[in-house]
Symmetry: C2
Subunit: 199 residues, 2 copies
């Protein structure tokens, strides 16, 4: 019933994690209504993602010609302080603060069960090996930058267990009242965090 | 901060109507994590949408080599019964019923103000001209297949006004209880419709 190019687009794009068949169909018809030039630009920008590589040390996506990403290559950054993040967008947000001068480990989104996927175990082992080789067996600090949600807490506990022999200190990001937030609406946990992190 | 190909992708894709910058960013990183072959397939399926044309009679997207879509070309279908739809996905859903043997006019999504956009006015005039030329000035029936929402009712009234001299009958899709729906939860309007459309 659908024109063949629409059907093909929908079949492929509705398999992507954040796009369902309905959104894919609407998107396909919208895209088809654009000019050829604009469609071609979009297709090229998608194909351009092929240029990206995955850093073998931190597993972040990168583009520079070297065999590692710019953060891992940067000798100004500490190698013995490692921030563990789930998503690359978390890494990007943290980098924007310009307050962190260590390295990263990108794990990929953690499951809601507290169990690690095989790829995540490989990445964790890769970091352990780096710490053994470069850090004399123990990093100074591993920061678990995992969301402070129920599932996040569970996953952070799993990760803390994994890394317990590989870092002198295992920390998480401080809890507190977000800028623009109101004390009245903060839950107990957040307020407890804000009290102990007061400055 | 973002790798250049990711940034370019996000810039272009977050301008599409149903995709925001956050979804575009997450999508970009996800796509970057796929194999080159898979990215290339997706890019090709997107580029494939360039092959589609817009039917000059009903304004639907089509692919066949002729100068009109297969529905408009089909001589088995009545030319004097026209279904006006907003979205092509509505057309696809209606075609799936196999209960309609007339033609279509695709208008594009109507605004919530009851006012028509210039492109929509052009399409309406194009249909009026077709009716003048082919239908002797009046179609047998124009069915306004517009959602039965408050905005939809407003827009349907605007369209009924537009077409009032161009069809013997102007109708809308019947209201009633949808299959799987429960009488208890149906609103008054739906129930009134269901009563007058009983079979």
């Amino acid at each position: 019933m659908l024109p063949e190019p629409i059907k093909k687009f929908v079949d492929l794009f509705s398999n992507l994690p954040s796009i369902g068949p309905r959104q894919a169909t609407r998107l396909a018809f919208y895209l088809a209504s654009l000019g050829k030039e604009q469609i071609s630009q979009l297709a090229q920008s998608l194909a351009g993602l092929q240029q990206l590589k995955r850093c073998p040390s931190c597993f972040a996506t990168y583009q520079n010609p070297e065999a590692q990403c710019l953060i891992c290559l940067n000798s100004q950054r500490r190698r013995d302080v490692i921030m563990v993040v789930e998503k690359e967008t978390d890494l990007v947000s943290l980098e924007k603060t310009k307050k962190f001068a260590g390295r990263y480990l990108v794990l990929g989104e953690l499951r809601k069960t507290g169990l690690l996927e095989p790829e995540q175990k490989l990445r964790i082992n890769s970091l352990k090996n780096l710490i053994k080789k470069e850090g004399g067996g123990q990093a100074e600090e591993i920061i678990l930058a995992i969301n402070p949600t129920t599932y996040g807490d569970l996953n952070a506990a799993t990760l803390a267990q994994e890394f317990k022999d590989f870092a002198k200190k295992i920390t998480r990001l401080g809890r507190g009242i977000p800028t623009g937030g109101e004390i009245e609406f903060a839950d107990e946990d957040t307020l407890s965090g804000a009290l102990s992190n007061r400055s």
